[in-house]
Symmetry: C2
Subunit: 304 residues, 2 copies
DNA sequence: GAATTGTATGAATTATATTCATATATATTC
DNA sequence: GAATATATATGAATATAATTCATACAATTC
């Protein structure tokens, strides 16, 4: 009766605090997980979570979570060993190209985690700026590209990583700080501080300002910390991923606000040649990216 | 893709050396297991067993067997812990009645193994001879009875343990030792040495000699070792479970032969009140009996 | 107390696993 | 080395289980 999916279920609910969120993380519906949980609880005649928000583990649930923490890594390791046995070990090579500046924040720890599991895979970062990073795949200059948009390219497979909210950053004393969220028009009167990237890659510009016909004065900075400094110095507004902000927010000089009423959400995807995408060391890298991201970035959401 | 049933599959095939035998141990058909194995091998693109008899693990198979040995006990322990949490701990009581003399050989180690997992369950052996041991259940004098026949008793559930072959034992120099197997008539001319139990419980008598109208001279001994001694001293023939014989066979004084061409096979069952049979500590005792028996008695077979 | 967000549940659907009926492969026996 | 026995593989049919869909119900927030 007890199956591995039940252990994954319990981990996901425990991590996310709700069945709904666990469901999107496991790529199943809320209903499916609810059925699974009820079936398991009925079978053993114990409830595993105390209902309420967030869902909390009962002692019985703890037993299974502990078991899961104990054995799941071993199962994953065995699966990796199997995969390694099948593929020839030499061929593992991952040249990674990254479109977004802030991505390095979580990419580095993910690469470290991956390296311990796949020491024989040669990893490299493809530097420089590229107008069409997906093309690097076909040109055999990169093996994996992290992008913010799905696309249709022959021979290329996109894997969703996660989605995250872009927040507007402004000085604490800024008049707009009084608002619960900013609209496109709020940007018109101030300077917009961004990374030195084409507008196509800047979500605020592409999806909010441009559609509204608003084109604010611009200023550029290479580093996140520099952008935050400029904002704190009242040089203008910026838009950064929610996950990148907490570190700087603490100081109290800047505040973050959602962009538009519904918030501005972006997704990240890992693109690879379809010939590579199926291979174990590739798939495992994408899994590691997801896992590490969810572990270190509390504000992100799963992406269908 | 990898599921616990796959680990059980691999363990069962490895232990038994064949898919067919593994199937009966897992209460599934040969076909089902073959499909499972092929699916698993196809998914990972490795073969897990080298085909041939017996089936041998490949290195890939070893990985999974090792994993199984590592995690299955932990999973079983967690399930026990869950069960213990649900049932009230005090109530565990197992008074065990045994019909067959030789059963003690494997019952004792099984009880030891069980005790480590369920220290709080009070175990006891119901001594003495009983004409109707199943009745002990209704009379609340025993909680579990090990018998050699299925029966229909209201409120009593029978669980199959295993089946085993009864072998005829004779002195090495005995003329019958020349035969590949003994028939009912072979018993007519000699003394039959048995435990002091009613004929109903002696399979050779009940199922072979009596149907053939043969009623040999009899002699009794309490202990297996005594029976073997008498046989070695040419005082007559005996019939003992195949598993009980190897210890004594080594000395070379006695030899064992199948009884009838097809062999004389008996089964053992654990009977319990249906109110008890579902409880975790009960079910686990029966599982332990099976496991320990299969581990220590190489000649036994699964019993549907 | 209305709106929102999350969980539970029955029925319908889809996906998976198992069996049945054989074919094929592998060992054993004469 | 056929012939026989014993095991495994496989496709189609069946049975079982898991998931979704469409809602109802519960909890929480405003």
């Amino acid at each position: 009766m007890l199956a591995l999916k039940h252990l994954r279920l319990i981990e996901a609910i425990h991590d996310s605090g709700s069945i709904t969120r666990a469901a999107s993380r496991l790529y199943l519906t809320q209903s499916a997980l609810s059925h699974q949980l009820v079936a398991l609880e009925t079978y053993y005649g114990v409830s595993l979570f105390e209902r309420g928000r967030p869902l909390r583990l009962t002692p019985a649930g703890e037993i299974l979570l502990t078991l899961s923490h104990d054995i799941m890594p071993k199962i994953e390791a065995a699966k990796r060993d199997l995969a390694r046995l099948v593929e020839d070990k030499q061929s593992g090579k991952l040249r990674i190209a990254v479109e977004c500046h802030t991505c390095y924040d979580w990419l580095m720890p993910a690469m470290d985690a991956y390296r311990t599991n796949w020491p024989e895979v040669e990893m490299d970062l493809v530097g420089g700026f590229h107008t069409d990073p997906i093309a690097l795949l076909a040109e055999d200059k990169a093996d994996l590209v992290i992008v913010s948009e799905l696309g249709k390219h022959k021979g290329v497979i996109f894997n969703p990583l996660f989605r995250y909210e872009m927040l507007a950053l402004m000085a604490s004393a800024h008049p707009l700080a009084a608002k619960s969220h900013l609209t496109a028009r709020d940007f018109a009167a101030d300077v917009l501080i961004t990374y030195p990237a084409p507008d196509r890659l800047l979500d605020v510009v592409r999806r909010v300002l441009k559609p509204a016909g608003i084109n604010p004065e611009r200023r550029f900075a290479e580093l996140t910390i520099a952008i935050v400094q400029l904002v704190a110095s009242r040089k203008g507004l910026a838009a950064l991923p929610a996950w990148a902000i907490p570190t700087y927010l603490e100081r109290g000089y800047v505040v973050a606000r959602p962009i538009t009423k519904r918030g501005l959400w972006s997704g990240l995807y890992a693109a690879a040649r379809d010939t590579d995408a199926g291979r174990a060391f590739h798939r495992d890298f994408v899994s590691t990216l997801r896992e590490q991201a969810f572990m270190s970035l509390p504000t992100i959401e799963p992406l269908a």
